[in-house]
């Protein structure tokens, strides 16, 4: 478990990092996935660009109701619900505890998860549910891609190899949004078999807004549009949440079998977890 030989570059600016990517570098931010892959010799980058010295990438900013998370913001930042204003901060704080364990949360980054695109990633599921936008920079310029168009499959994204994922942006959630995040997994630090994040808006007794993100329910993170549609206009109740769970399981999820979680079981878990998450987001 030793990496093959590689060159190591420490760019001091975003421009320098982008130049390195143009030269074929892979990006080292938190390193919690890349280094493991290199040690397992499943990744053999000839050049690694360590962006940890690039100033300005470690900031969280809120401008005009949009949160921007830089490429060096670590998972642990979100452990405090106050790090991000309003219910969005609460939702992130509920989700982050499911990410590995404290040493990994101290190093790994949110945008690193988006770049890596593991189907079980909590952040990726929330990104698609929350209409996040991914900012990509290369020597060719900067572009922005909505999260739902960004994830293409397991470890596959719309990011070109020479593009640096510099930031991800989220619209803040309205103050009266109810949020919840639940995860089903085999041990306290294993990957999610299924994870569900939800944001619900209930006005005058009726659900007016619903966002449901699903992790490890398909080959990529999903937003449960079908389940969300069953909710809009309904009064929050257990039968409504159960029906939404069933819709998510049958019409949104496209589970991939893996040991200890075949398709039937995983669909069942999706139904149960979605209903439970919704109930928590909007107590009946």
């Amino acid at each position: 478990m030793k990496p093959a030989a590689f060159d190591y570059l420490v760019p001091q600016t975003v421009a320098g990092a982008v130049d390195a990517l143009a030269a074929g570098a892979q990006v080292l931010a938190g390193g919690q996935s890349l280094l493991l892959e290199m040690h397992l010799q499943r990744a053999h980058p000839a050049l690694v660009a360590d962006i940890n010295r690039v100033p300005g990438l470690d900031t969280l900013t809120v401008v005009d109701g949009t949160l921007t998370v830089g490429a060096l913001v670590r998972h642990k930042t979100f452990e405090s619900p106050g790090a991000v204003p309003g219910p969005l901060g609460d939702l992130f704080a509920r989700a982050v505890g499911y990410i590995a364990h404290p040493p990994i949360r101290a190093r790994g980054t949110m945008t690193g998860n988006l770049a890596w695109a593991h189907p079980a990633s909590e952040w990726c599921a929330l990104a698609v549910a929350l209409d996040a936008v991914v900012e990509l920079r290369s020597t060719r310029g900067t572009r922005e891609i909505p999260a739902e168009d960004y994830f293409l499959g397991p470890f596959q994204t719309a990011r070109d190899p020479d593009e640096l994922l510099t930031a991800v942006r989220y619209p803040l959630l309205a103050p009266d949004t109810g949020v919840a995040f639940t995860e089903h997994r085999r041990t306290g630090f294993s990957f999610a078999q299924v994870a569900v994040g939800a944001a619900l808006t209930v006005r005058e007794g009726v659900i007016t807004g619903a966002r449901i993100g699903l992790a490890n329910c398909a080959d990529r993170p999903l937003r449960a549009h079908n389940a969300e549609r069953t909710l809009i206009g309904s009064e929050p109740s257990q039968p409504v949440f159960t029906a939404a769970g069933e819709a998510a399981a049958e019409r949104d999820a496209a589970p991939v079998p893996e040991p200890y979680a075949d398709v039937d079981y995983r669909r069942h878990v999706v139904a149960v977890l979605v209903a439970r998450t919704l109930r928590e987001a909007a107590p009946v």
Binding site: L40, V272, L273
Partner: protein, 738 residues
């Protein structure tokens, strides 16, 4: 000791431990093995030429490049296990070639350049597939490697006349022992000697094996066991990689080291358990057991070896703690395309305990009896010891009723039953279940390994040196044995040091496995210290010109019965010369026992199991160091939880284990999974040694898994919980609950 609980703690907990990988040896080469990515196949090519061109690579060899390389010892000539694959791959990860480099990085770069080609064959990874003999691991030979039985066949009438007969199938899944430090070996040639450093349980056996393999005198080899990060049974043999490393070190005249990494360990370290079982248990209407039959189909891996006979341990222990008059166990050991199964903490006793204890709970349900009461009616009573079982064991001692009663009291059994009833009346509450398990363990070893070298020596500086053939891989010998010798001699423990794990320092040794160190080495050291006292009294008596009967021993000194003169050990050595006892101590095996109980809460919708409480009452006779015994119990219980709930090796259709994610796929229990554990103890000394200590440390692996599984079955009120096969992952529990 300065606040540390154990002598080892300061070194190990401050990072000052020295493991094989920490040893600095000039000009040492690191070995990396090129491993098969198929489970079964014909090797067509293993070309190392490109690897030899890689900078930093000192050499690369396939089997064809090393025609004289000896095969694994202890195999059958017709089913030889070569140290490097010659023409047939029989398990995934089997070594095809070896690359030596200046360091592990260069060696891995070289290994990546070795070109191999294997034509795959169909793979068999279960005992059932193997038994069909449609795919044979050795052409023209059956996959059945061993048949055996314990007890006598049970007459058909017994089953027909019984009020109740329970039949069931169980699977004891393959487990990976997973010590923190994987296997290690460092061979340093020098002059006409070879020094071998290895994290190992049996240094003398390793020396003997290597001497035979390398065809050189045993005295020319020194085996040293430095700090070792766990073993659990997986480090007691010689392995193909060890042969290659030792061979190349001698061939090249250079130090060569192999430090197994986790990815290799997941593929090619020895496995534990691996049995498919069928049981029949008959009882009369009052719940008195009449007969028990256990059929074991054991998956023993790819090559015949020591482990082939280990399923017999399950057969011999099949009787368990009950007075069942008729017990019959049969075993078939079957070859499969996996790395070999071998002892893993518990080694045959968990596989015996689990089917019996699970079936006891089914029987209790069928009879409408409380499972504790059913056990009480059948446990061997204290006055029945020594108790000869129908499967050929003679249990030395026991008080099973006391252990069970203490376990129930410690748990608060009645309180949990009341809580269970309350929850059953509440449709919103998660159900809870209570599971019990009574067990008998065997410690000390089998015939042929029930002896050990022990020695005690007094120095002229007031120190005492204890020596024994045990080899610690984390069992606190450096704390426990000096304290025992000090207590026997009546000296300060700080004056006693322990020497073990170095064949140059010891005239002989067997090693540490089968929970034998406290029982055999401990009793032996006590015995040797006693002989030292006798010798000291005789010498002092001669000096004082007294009959030896007119001397006595106390506080580490000889005293004349009359008068106030006293002679301590150092003075005695100064005046009479070296004082050293070396003994071969032998004692019979013993049978620790106990009762475990677990309470679990099940989320039936998701199938998740939350363990609310584990209680373990273990009886290891005299506990030499209660803290160390409790530490052993705790760790063993956590490994038992691993078998019950988390650990397993899934296989793909191609026979490859689905463990690409390493320990993210093979889930060991971690801190977050450890439930409240309460330990209780009873102490029934073994009459087989004056010391009275039995082995401790394997009991959690034996007693805990069935308690957990029984608790889950109880929570779900399953009448016949065959679908609950370990590990009880959420999908398994959900399906069983449906």
């Amino acid at each position: 000791m300065d606040g540390w609980l154990r002598r080892e703690d300061e070194r190990l907990l401050t990072g000052a431990g020295r493991f094989v990988a920490d040893l600095r040896v000039p000009a040492c080469l690191d070995a990396v093995f090129v491993r098969s990515e198929v489970a079964h196949g014909v090797l067509r090519e293993a070309d190392c030429s490109a690897a030899r061109e890689v900078p930093g690579v000192a050499g690369a060899w396939s089997a064809a490049d090393l025609p004289d390389l000896p095969p694994m010892p202890l195999g059958e000539p017709a089913r030889e296990w070569p140290a490097l694959v010659e023409d047939r791959v029989r398990y995934p990860g089997e070594a095809l070639a070896v690359v030596l480099g200046d360091d592990r990085y260069h060696a891995e770069d070289g290994a990546a350049r070795v070109r191999t080609r294997i034509d795959p064959l169909p793979a068999v990874v279960t005992a059932q597939e193997s038994a069909a003999d449609t795919v044979r691991l050795f052409d023209g030979l059956s996959n059945v490697a061993l048949r055996g039985e314990a007890g006598s066949p049970i007459d058909g009438e017994v089953w027909e006349r019984a009020a109740v007969v329970v039949e069931s199938d169980y699977r004891q899944q393959l487990l990976l022992p997973s010590p923190m430090e994987c296997r290690t070996i460092l061979c340093v040639p020098g002059g006409d000697r070879l020094t071998v450093w290895s994290g190992h349980q049996a240094p003398h056996r390793l020396r003997q094996d290597l001497a035979g393999l390398l065809d050189r005198p045993e005295e020319s080899i020194r085996v040293v066991v430095p700090d070792t990060g766990g073993a659990f049974g997986s480090k007691s043999a010689v392995f193909p990689e060890f042969i290659v490393v030792a061979w190349l070190a001698v061939l090249l005249g250079r130090p060569v080291r192999w430090v197994e990494d986790r990815r290799e360990s997941l593929l090619v370290a020895t496995r534990g358990r691996g049995q498919d079982q069928h049981v029949r248990l008959a009882a009369d209407a009052e719940g008195r057991l009449l007969a028990y039959e256990l059929t074991v189909e054991a998956d023993v891996g790819a090559y015949p070896h020591l482990g082939v006979a280990f399923p017999m341990q399950t057969a011999w222990m099949a009787t368990g703690p009950y007075t069942t008059p008729k017990v019959h166990a049969t075993v078939r050991s079957l070859l499969t395309n996996t790395m070999i199964t071998y002892p893993y903490r518990g080694a045959g006793r968990p596989e015996a305990t689990s089917p019996l204890e699970r079936t006891m709970d089914v029987l209790a349900r069928r009879l409408g009896l409380d499972p504790a009461e059913l056990r009480r009616r059948n446990l061997i009573p204290p006055e029945a010891f020594p108790y000869r079982t129908p499967t050929g064991r003679t249990y030395d001692s026991g008080d099973h009723h006391a252990a069970l009663d203490l376990a129930l009291r410690t748990l608060g059994y009645d309180g949990w039953r009341a809580e269970q009833a309350r929850r059953r009346a509440d449709p919103d509450a998660f159900p809870i279940g209570i599971g019990l398990s009574c067990y008998v363990e065997r410690s000390g070893g089998e015939r042929g390994s029930l002896h050990e070298y022990v020695g005690v020596e007094a120095g002229d500086d007031g120190t005492v040196t204890a020596r024994c053939g045990a080899a610690s891989s984390g069992q606190s010998h450096a704390t426990v044995f000096p304290a025992l010798v000090a207590e026997t001699l009546g000296v300060e423990p700080a004056r006693v040091r322990l020497v073990e794990g170095d064949t140059d320092e010891l005239p002989g040794g067997v090693g540490s496995f089968g929970s034998r160190s406290a029982q055999i080495d401990g009793a032996g050291l006590q015995h040797a210290a006693g002989l030292l006292i006798e010798e000291a009294r005789e010498r002092a008596a001669r000096l004082w010109d007294l009959p030896v009967e007119e001397t006595s021993w106390s506080d580490g000194a000889v005293h004349p019965v009359r008068g106030s003169a006293a002679m301590g050990l150092s003075e005695l050595v100064k005046r009479t010369g070296p004082l050293r006892i070396d003994e071969r101590y032998e004692a019979d095996m013993a049978f620790p026992f106990g009762a475990h109980a677990a309470v679990v809460e099940v989320d039936p919708e998701l199938g998740t199991v939350r363990v609310l409480q584990v209680v373990a009452v273990d009886d290891c006779g005299r506990a030499l160091d209660p803290d160390v015994v409790r530490g052993q119990a705790f760790g063993s219980i956590v490994q038992g939880l691993g078998q019950a709930l988390y650990e397993g090796v899934p296989f793909g259709d191609d026979g490859l284990p689905l463990l690409d994610g390493g320990l993210l796929d093979y889930l060991l229990p971690t801190y977050a999974e450890i439930p409240p554990i309460e330990l209780g103890e009873t102490h029934t000394p073994t009459p087989r040694t004056p010391l009275g200590a039995k082995g401790a440390g394997e009991t959690g692996c034996i007693g805990t898994p069935p308690a957990i599984v029984n608790a889950v079955a109880d929570a779900l009120r399953l009448a016949h919980p065959e679908r609950l096969q370990m590990p009880l992952t959420p999908d398994v529990v959900w399906r069983a609950a449906a």
